[in-house]
């Protein structure tokens, strides 16, 4: 993928053809990424996809085997971490146990030799931002996990810079706390109008936080763009499947041509196809998000029969596992949606999907969408 430089503003980060190998394992390769200034860039990747290595290269803790790193349009590939001027929130909190919370937060300013009288208001500011003013005199071992994380974020944010790197900072926190911190982080980034690079393996976190998502898979960025685009029109099956909760459905099908018409056939349904195949192989996969499958018929939709295998009631919504002529499908129903009929296990139902929401992939890449039923 070519770097898509944002020509209107400044480029905060540009990674050009990065590669990193540990022993025989090629962790990153052919990695390109461009982050315009002021973006909240979430690097999304499953565990062990190379996110942490990318952060280590970006912060300068390790050097790439190949490629260049530009920060603020300057080549920093060979600069030490301290010279890159990055605010950093490490994955494990790494709060110094021999410092108080106050000393921990003030640490980056202390290292930058900021005069003492300027440090205090800054500490108060970030502590206020994260709601930890009352903890300043404590030692890290007197804090709960969530409090430690807030302190670590405060220490990362206190640095006066325009670029912050947060390495999966909310991993392992409980759900409620994460939601609060997600709000805080998003607000903070918008308020400071700075660039955030944030790694995570959580799809919901990515979608909630990001102004741009880069999907890291197999050591390279396979796709990046705004969350809405990635969600509704993913270019790769990995993106469709991983940036989602619950997981998206992938249906195996075959592509055939009759005259000037192209058709997709699956065990469950048959649909038209509009798009350009990128190879001669007839095997395709049709991706559909769970919430796009509806129970009952809707005008203009593709329909098929399915049997309900399992129901998971999550209170606000229900996850249904369906079997449509041998094809396993997952769908989500909102409990307050009056237009949806109630279903029971083993019940036979008619399901419908809007054809233009069915994305057709060939060899993992998007080649088009379905058209009306045939």
């Amino acid at each position: 993928m070519a770097p898509n430089r944002n020509d209107t503003g400044m480029t905060a980060i540009e990674l050009n053809n990065l590669a990193k190998r540990y022993g025989r394992k090629q962790v990153l390769h052919n990695l390109h990424l461009s982050v315009p200034a002021g973006e909240f860039m979430v690097v999304f990747g499953l565990p062990a996809s190379g996110k942490s290595v990318l952060v280590r290269l970006l912060t300068g803790l390790e050097s790439p085997d190949q490629g260049n790193i530009f920060l603020r349009n300057t080549d920093v590939t060979h600069l030490s971490p301290g010279e890159r001027n990055i605010g950093y929130v490490p994955q494990s909190f790494a709060l110094y146990p021999h410092f108080t919370v106050h000393q921990n937060i003030a640490y980056p300013l202390h290292l930058a030799r900021v005069p003492k009288n300027e440090v205090e208001p800054e500490v108060q500011r970030v502590a206020g931002l994260l709601g930890i003013q009352s903890l300043l005199d404590r030692k890290p071992d007197q804090l709960s996990g969530g409090q430690k994380q807030r302190v670590a974020i405060a220490r990362g944010l206190i640095k006066r810079t325009d670029l912050y790197v947060l390495d999966d900072p909310l991993v392992g926190l409980d759900f409620k706390l994460r939601e609060r911190l997600i709000d805080d982080l998003k607000r903070t980034q918008e308020m400071l109008n700075v660039t955030f690079v944030y790694t995570t393996s959580d799809a919901v976190e990515s979608l909630m936080l990001a102004s741009q998502i880069a999907v890291l898979d197999g050591g390279e960025i396979i796709e990046n763009g705004p969350p809405e685009t990635l969600y509704t029109a993913p270019q790769r099956t990995q993106t469709l499947q991983s940036v989602a909760f619950p997981q998206a459905n992938l249906i195996d099908g075959t592509l055939s041509t009759q005259g000037s018409h192209q058709f997709i056939e699956t065990p469950a349904f048959r649909a038209g196809f509009s798009g350009q195949p990128n190879g001669p192989t007839p095997q395709v996969q049709i991706g559909v998000r769970p919430e796009q499958i509806r129970i009952g018929t809707t005008p203009g939709a593709l329909t098929c029969q399915a049997r309900v295998l399992l129901r998971e009631d999550l209170g606000g919504e229900e996850i249904l596992y369906l079997d449509a002529q041998g094809v396993q499908l997952t769908t989500v129903l909102r409990s307050d949606d009056q237009t949806q009929q109630h279903v029971d296990i083993d019940q036979s139902v008619t399901i419908s999907m809007q054809p233009q929401q069915l994305i057709v992939f060939q060899q993992g890449r998007r080649i088009g969408v379905c058209t009306g039923s045939e």
């Binding site: 300068g60 971490p81 950093y88 490490p90 790494a94």
Partner: protein, 277 residues
Amino acid sequence: MQPSRTRIAFYYSLLWLVALLFFLPVFWILMASFKTPDDILAVPPQFLFQPTLDNIVSMLTRPNTIPYFINSLFLSILSVTLALVVSFLAAYTLSRYKFRATNFLMFLILSTRMVPAAAFVVPIFQMYNAFQWRNQFGVLMLYTMFSIPFSLWILKGFIDGVSPRYDETGFVNGASRLHVMFRVVLPQVRPGLIAAFIFNLIFVWNEFLLNFILGGPGTQMIPYALAVGLTDSGGNVDWAFVASLSTGYVLLPTLMIFFFQKYLLVGMTFGTVRGEV
């Protein structure tokens, strides 16, 4: 199942019995240092007696006693301190820069302490004679070298327990390597430093053979004084002197062990069992 109270009482009385049995000779020496020579050798042993400070006064007024104490303190404290500085730098390096043979190198360094002093005292003596190192500096260096292996092992265990993420957070915020070593890592391994200090101090404090062979006026320590002052001119054991010198001699290690017990365990397990420290 909780053992019954009588069982616990039985176990504890057994423990006390064994402990007192082992403490008896020490107790005898401590008592003897306050007894007159006649009381010391009285049969049956005297438990109630008129204490006297005569032994201690006469021991301290012997011409070389005070210098022996000074030598012991000087050599043990300084050599162990120097060893800690060297060991901390080495332990940080071995912990953070992992190269192929680290474990083997650690083993080699420790192996210098596996040979009993009696086995290498002759070559060391000849070497020290040849290089004219049989002075304060030479003996100090010997004890420093002597203290490095255990200190290195203890400190490496501790530094391995300090996550490199701490170092990295410092680096990204612009800290130098030295800052990270001394301001980030060092404060976190303080228990290891104390453990290594006490553990090696006791070793050097108790060292006799090398001191006896290599030592001179500026380097002879208390164990040497005990050995050469054991008998009086008539060939009899001078119990009053031995007892009073021993009492003064065990004072420092006893106090240290008493106040820093928990660190001693750390030392004996090379930092792998950290307990409450």
